[in-house]
């Protein structure tokens, strides 16, 4: 056999133990896959990875690879130790956008596997941290062939570089009783309006959309996206008093006091002597805790919509930021509602494109210029829901006070008039 088998004593240690081993999977490809392109590439990859383990260093460098017509979507990888491991010297990753909610049929997964078997290393991840299907390891030439094939049956590349990135949403309304939104529609309305900005990186830096159906935020949208859309409701939550009684019977009164009533962040729940439950819905901040614990008894109300937060991001460069409330509540029912959501996203991205410094995320830009300048730039009025508390420093020039107060009263009057 011509194929070179590298010794991998350190990686072999990762075949031990009860959790499924990726190294065993790599070895199956090396030892059992009939196609030399796959078995040799993965054999060589194992050699390079072992070398990394032994020297505690990475050996990939970037470069430029893209498919015809696009500027992004591929993560190019060239080996710095190609002399020793030549068969994996090009090992690019394709980022492919998953369906909203990450649903697949087994047939579709098999079809994708068959295409990848023709052109790639045989390694796939569902999904990367940003949300893409990652087809890991192929050559520059096969990048194009693989993309051409899967693009014909409905799959498109995601973003890489300074561009609108692949979006993600939680399992949501498809299978979750807490959902207050159609996450799937929101995700597709948003990200598919910006396909040009996904495929041709031309922004100051990356821009991510993420959608969660309720404030549990299973999708980690507030911290991990520039534009977070979170489902919520504004009428009263629903209380099924029979289910409340059943819950108390099953768990005990003390359990409900210790785990529900006293855990409410705004102390807005009362457990009555007759084992019914009252909620002061004006004080409820829709934190979801009581709905999570008393899942059968408590449910979101009917007047559903979304809260939009802007500017979440990870450490580089000024430190981690959570998104900030920009729109406290927005209905999403009609086509016009969705269109106005997309318009807001366009405003935000246009402003970001024009005003952010190179390599500055939206949240950092807001930090630098101040929230008020950002709001004025995107045409959104100030709202007390946007802050934890009003300013505490008196070092500010306020000679426009009367005008601003007038604006507030005018807006209130307009709202009251409907």
């Amino acid at each position: 056999m011509a194929k070179k088998i590298h010794d991998t004593p350190m990686l072999d240690e990762l075949e031990k133990g009860p959790w499924p081993s990726f190294i065993s999977g790599f070895k199956r490809l090396r030892d059992q896959h009939p196609d030399p392109r796959i078995n040799e590439t993965v054999g060589s990859l194992l050699g390079q990875l072992e070398h990394s383990y032994e020297t505690r260093k990475g050996y990939w460098k970037g470069g430029t690879v893209s498919v015809f017509g696009y500027g992004g979507g591929i993560i190019p990888r060239f080996s710095e130790v190609a002399d020793a491991f030549p068969e994996s010297k090009e090992f690019h990753t394709l980022r492919v956008q998953p369906p909203a909610g990450n649903y697949y049929t087994t047939d579709m997964l098999n079809q994708l596997a068959n295409s990848w078997e023709k052109y790639g290393s045989g390694l796939i991840t569902f999904h990367g941290q940003t949300g893409n299907i990652m087809f890991i390891g192929t050559t520059t030439e096969n990048t194009q062939h693989f993309f051409d094939e899967i693009n014909e049956y409905g799959w498109d590349l995601g973003g890489a570089g300074p561009c609108v990135r692949t979006a993600m949403s939680c399992v949501g309304a498809a299978r979750c009783e807490q959902s207050c939104a159609n996450e799937h529609a929101i995700q597709r309305w948003l990200v598919n309006n910006f396909t040009d900005d996904v495929h041709r990186p031309a922004l100051p830096y990356k821009f991510k959309f993420k959608v969660s159906g309720c404030p549990n935020d299973c999708q980690n949208a507030i911290e991990r996206s520039d534009f977070a859309v979170i489902g919520t409701w504004r009428d009263d939550m629903k209380i099924d008093q029979d289910e409340v009684k059943k819950f108390i019977e099953a768990k005990g009164r003390q359990y409900v006091i210790d785990n529900v009533i006293t855990r409410c962040p705004t102390q807005c729940m009362t457990l009555n002597d007759d084992d019914t439950l009252d909620v002061n819905n004006h004080d409820c901040v829709r934190c979801m805790h009581c709905l999570n614990v008393m899942n059968k008894a408590l449910s979101p109300g009917d007047d559903k919509g979304v809260t939009i937060l802007i500017g979440g991001k990870r450490t580089l460069k000024i430190g981690d930021l959570m998104g900030t409330v920009i729109v406290p509540f927005k209905k999403l029912e009609t086509e016009e509602d969705y269109e106005s959501l997309v318009e807001l996203a366009e405003e935000v991205i246009d402003f970001f494109a024009e005003n952010a410094l190179e390599h500055e995320r939206t949240g950092e830009m807001i930090e630098r210029i101040g929230l008020v300048n950002f709001l004025e730039g995107i045409g959104v009025e100030v709202d007390p829901h946007m802050v934890n508390n009003p300013r505490q420093s008196s070092y500010v020039r306020m000679d426009g006070w009367d005008e601003e107060a007038e604006k507030w009263f005018a807006r209130k009057a307009e709202q009251a008039a409907g």
């Binding site: 990859l45 998953p98 596997a113 693009n151 979750c176 009783e177 934190c287």
Partner: protein, 358 residues
């Protein structure tokens, strides 16, 4: 190939998920009433219509080879109903309408070596990044760290008996693709970059590297008659932000690239507002292939949390109740000068009160 022969891409973007959704989920979209957790790894969702959907969740090695992926789809065809999804922590979920299929599905998954669990109050699958396998800037591996740790935490994944769910993340550089976690295991460099001066002029756009540094420690300089860069090592915080735009700024070091552990990151709005993770341990050796030192500290934190936290307390809720002094006391971890923040906004993390627990 001539340009005109190249195929134009179809810019279809994000595909519609409805076409791949289980018919019961499509039918009851937005009409779910409640769910139950009959056993670890299994969820039963009931719709207002009375329809039910059963979910079986399993952990995998995340980096799937074709054989493993086909095994997963084969199980879905033979024992499931052909509909799956992946969670954001890369677990696979099989959805079936027929309860009778649940046990055979679990048996088939376990028989094939997958791990059923990861629901409710479990230590969920650790979310991980790319690492030495396929990133160009990593200080450590990702898949290997996670495999080694999940081997040790598998019972917590299978049994779901923690006070609340525990989300663990890892990141293999200080950019931290891994995000916030109840526990996060992240690379922490401890020495400034070593500069390969010969290469800088050719590979790096110097002004943008200078601009990338969070503490303005980099300035252009001539070294050996060639344009290069210079780092003020007293200012440098060893973050590695200069490395991606300028690979000659070598930040990764087999000895001095360490791991740090952070706790209390929580994305959810339940009870308190979402929280960022806080530093608890550092100086942990980056020790492949199994990183035992990092795993030992994670297990120590988990053990203390499990014994001490009340029902429904996430790690951040628990620490908020008992206070940080007691966290360090109970876990036995040292509190050092490095725990006191000096980054922007640091004042807000100081105790400006007499609120002290004795």
């Amino acid at each position: 190939m001539a340009l005109e022969e190249m195929r134009q891409p179809i810019e279809s973007g994000c595909p519609d998920g409805f076409q791949y959704m289980h018919p019961v989920m499509r039918k009851n979209f937005g009409q779910w009433k409640y769910h139950e957790h009959p056993r670890p790894g299994v969820l039963r969702h009931v719709a207002h219509s009375g329809d039910e959907i059963w979910t079986v969740k399993a952990g995998t090695q995340r980096i799937l080879d074709l054989f493993t992926l086909r095994k997963l789809t084969e199980i879905g065809d033979k024992y499931g109903e052909g509909y799956v999804r992946f969670t954001i922590r890369s677990n696979i979920e099989y959805m079936v309408a027929d309860e009778a299929k649940v046990q055979p599905l679990i048996d088939a998954l376990e028989e094939a070596g997958f791990v059923v669990g990861g629901t409710a109050n479990s230590v969920a699958m650790i979310s991980h990044t790319q690492g030495w396998l396929h990133c160009d800037i990593p200080g450590t591996d990702a898949s290997g760290v996670v495999k080694a740790m999940m081997d040790e935490l598998i019972d917590e994944f299978k049994n779901c008996n923690m006070p609340n769910r525990v989300h663990i993340t890892t990141s293999c550089c200080q950019i931290n693709c891994g995000g916030q976690g109840d526990i996060a295991i992240n690379v922490q460099h401890t020495k400034p970059p070593k500069i390969a001066h010969d290469l800088v002029a050719n590979v790096c756009e110097r002004p943008s590297v200078v601009a990338r540094c969070p503490v303005a420690a980099i300035r252009p300089a001539m070294v050996n008659g060639k344009p290069s860069l210079e780092v003020d090592e007293k200012k440098c915080i060893c973050c590695g932000a200069c490395f991606p735009p300028c690979p000659p700024m070598q930040i990764n070091d087999p000895e001095h690239t360490k791991l740090a552990i952070w706790v209390g990151g929580n994305h959810s709005n339940a009870r308190g507002k979402p929280t960022f993770q806080k530093l608890v341990a550092a100086g942990i050796p980056n020790n492949p292939p199994r990183w035992p030192e990092a795993t030992a500290i994670v297990k120590q934190i988990l053990r203390t949390y499990k014994e001490d936290a009340k029902d429904w307390e996430r790690i951040n809720d628990w620490i908020e109740r008992i206070g940080w002094p007691r966290f360090f006391e109970k876990t036995g971890l040292p509190f050092t000068k490095y725990h006191i923040d000096n980054w922007r906004g640091a004042r807000a993390s100081l105790n400006a009160s007499t609120h002290i627990r004795f």
